[in-house]
């Protein structure tokens, strides 16, 4: 169904006629995107890791449309508290958006939910003997919010930062107070190669029969449904529906979106892992 009105929440400057035009061109086979990208093509971006020397891991990413995101990861030693039951609060995620968008709670939840996937094995790596554990603070700073939805930018930067996070090696016994090796070369990665990597979230918009990755703001408002698919390795660990679009979608569409996301994610992972190897 063609969206007759602009989506109120995304507040696009498009008139109903422009929106209808965009919708039609996106439903064509093959579809025509306004910036002539292919459906699975991402906009160019600049990424670098290990930019903040005083953190355990950090990354910065600059998006083509002006979005800029910096993530810093810091770890502290904390005593296991008696009252807290689970290790749920061992990783604390804080999303700060300059210019304060109202939906940062939603963003924070999306990141936290996928990062704290049960069974990913991260929390087990934070245990320090019997009485202590690492407390990891992930501070996500969105310096310049992109014109489109910031979820992808945010999670890609977080992925990069976490991949480059190292924790000092524990040299004390399990029952003792923790003592660490002061040689940074011996530090252990938070996400070792071969174990389950941190998750990323891809934004996918569906228009008619077509599926588009990395949508712009205009494409978001012309879409039938906008899904944020969180992928960890080769597994889909979370799907969320975002604002935008009108009316519902058939279940076949949702399934196709999820399937294609998995394929695209694989490519994204391999590209992200090559960041930092070049320089």
């Amino acid at each position: 169904m063609a969206p007759l009105q602009t989506s109120q929440q995304t507040g696009t400057p498009l008139s109903p006629a422009e929106l209808s035009y965009l919708h039609t061109s996106l439903t064509l086979t093959p579809p025509i995107r306004p910036d002539s990208r292919t459906p699975t093509q991402f906009r160019p971006l600049v990424a670098e890791s290990d930019i903040l020397p005083s953190t355990n891991g950090s990354a910065r990413m600059i998006w083509g449309d002006g979005g800029e995101c910096v993530v810093g990861v810091k770890a502290e030693v904390e005593r296991n508290s008696a009252t807290s039951v689970g290790p749920r609060d061992w990783i604390e995620i804080n999303v700060e958006v300059s210019g304060q968008r109202d939906d940062d709670a939603f963003l924070g939840m999306t990141v936290a939910e996928s990062l704290l996937v049960p069974g990913s094995g991260v929390l087990e790596r934070l245990v320090l003997g019997e009485r202590f554990h690492w407390k990891v603070f992930v501070d996500i700073l969105l310096l310049a919010p992109p014109l489109s939805h910031p979820a992808t930018l945010l999670t890609l930067t977080t992925y990069l930062a976490l991949r480059n996070t190292f924790l000092p090696k524990l040299i004390s016994e399990v029952v003792e107070d923790p003592v660490f090796d002061d040689d940074w070369d011996n530090a252990l990665p938070l996400y070792p190669v071969g174990k389950i990597p941190p998750p990323i979230t891809l934004l996918v918009v569906n228009v008619g029969e077509n599926i588009f990755f990395d949508p712009t703001r205009e494409e978001l408002s012309a879409g039938d449904v906008v899904l944020a698919v969180s992928i960890c390795g080769k597994k889909v660990v979370g799907v969320r529906t975002l604002e935008g679009g009108s009316g519902g979608v058939g279940r076949a569409v949702v399934k196709r979106v999820i399937k294609e996301s998995c394929e695209v994610a694989e490519e994204v992972f391999s590209n992200l892992n090559s960041v930092g190897e070049g320089d």
Partner: protein, 336 residues
């Protein structure tokens, strides 16, 4: 941060009672994985509102097990405040709030927290796509949902229900969608279709019975828990459970909540969570839980239909358009 507009507790701070044995044994009601729990849904319990509904799950409730109870009221379409810009569509906003006494563990504060804002946003997406917003230009439709009682499993720090995916928030959202949709119908607001919420999850099962000690084991986080999980995966069987409850004691590997419009066979909301703890084909797994959640919501839809129909007949009878016995009396008897 004290709230000056309310009466606050002692400054020293208070803690919820700590019990001698860690957790009281929950009675697990045997329910087959594909059986949905019974729902009590009644519209029109908040007469000052344009439309309202009350939902209770499961019903009839026993005293020992927690229930999910929520009320929903809808106001509108009413004019947008003059300060807002022109809108050719109705603006639908949804607010979900947990009552201070609704959750296990710590008492919930009055100020909206991240979880509530997140659920509110998802609720307004699920409902907004079902309402014919184009029919009501320059107007606002406000949906309020108050959770009076819930089953836990909300993923709060210190929540007892742990291990696997927290399904509590999902079932709160799904029932909130169903309840609010009934309230929207009660308000007489034009919709494409009614939305029903449904939840399904994949659980690890062993010979038809979920083993208690396995549940305990997965709660511990230690070096060996990863291996323990791997071990039990070998002899465990993964089963799809419709309408899982946090008190059932399952280890939920993946769960989905959907907002589903049955008459159009369309989804307005998809929310899935999965855990990494087992290997299976990823996309198949997601498809399975989404399909399961749709099945669950189809069952809920029948209840919404009945509640809306009941209300409609009552309204027609009040106007003297049809004759016959009154369909129902005062509905608040169900709160007992």
């Amino acid at each position: 941060m004290t709230d000056r507009r309310r009466i606050n507790g002692p400054l020293e701070g208070t803690i919820p009672p700590v019990f001698l044995t860690s957790s009281t044994h929950k009675s697990i009601i045997k329910r087959s994985p594909t059986t949905l729990r019974k729902i009590f849904l009644k519209t029109g319990l908040t007469p000052p509102a344009t439309g309202s509904a009350f939902l209770e799950l499961p019903t009839p409730s026993t005293h020992s097990t927690p229930t999910l109870k929520l009320t929903s009221s809808v106001y509108g379409p009413r004019p947008l405040p003059s300060s807002t810009t022109f809108s050719s569509n109705a603006r639908l906003t949804a607010e979900l709030k947990f009552s201070p006494f609704s959750t296990p563990g710590r008492r919930r504060g009055y100020i909206r927290d991240g979880v509530e804002r997140d659920l509110s946003a998802q609720l307004s997406i699920a409902l907004g796509k079902s309402v014919a917003v184009g029919k009501y230009p320059k107007s606002a439709i406000d949906v309020f949902v108050s959770v009076l009682d819930c089953e836990g499993g909300l993923g709060d720090a210190g929540d007892e229900a742990g291990g696997g995916v927290d399904v509590g928030l999902m079932s709160v959202l799904a029932t909130a969608i169903s309840c609010a949709s009934a309230a929207i119908a009660d308000a007489g607001i034009e919709c494409f279709d009614l939305v029903a919420g449904g939840v399904a999850g994949l659980v690890l099962e062993q010979g038809g019975v979920v083993e208690e000690d396995r549940v305990e084991k997965s709660l511990e986080v230690g070096q060996d828990s990863d291996d323990a999980r791997r071990g039990m995966r070998k002899n465990g069987k993964v089963t799809l459970v419709l309408d899982p409850s946090p008190i059932d004691g399952y280890i939920i590997l993946a769960a989905a909540a959907v907002g589903y419009m049955a008459a159009r066979d369309e989804l307005t909301l998809v929310w899935t969570k999965g855990s990494m703890g087992w290997d299976g084909d990823s996309t198949d797994e997601v498809e399975r839980i989404v399909d399961g959640a749709i099945t669950a919501s189809t069952g809920v839809r029948l209840v919404i239909n009945e509640a809306v129909k009941e209300r409609l007949l009552l309204g027609l009878k009040e106007m003297g358009l049809i004759r016959g016995k009154a369909v129902s009396g005062d509905g608040d008897a169900a709160m007992s």
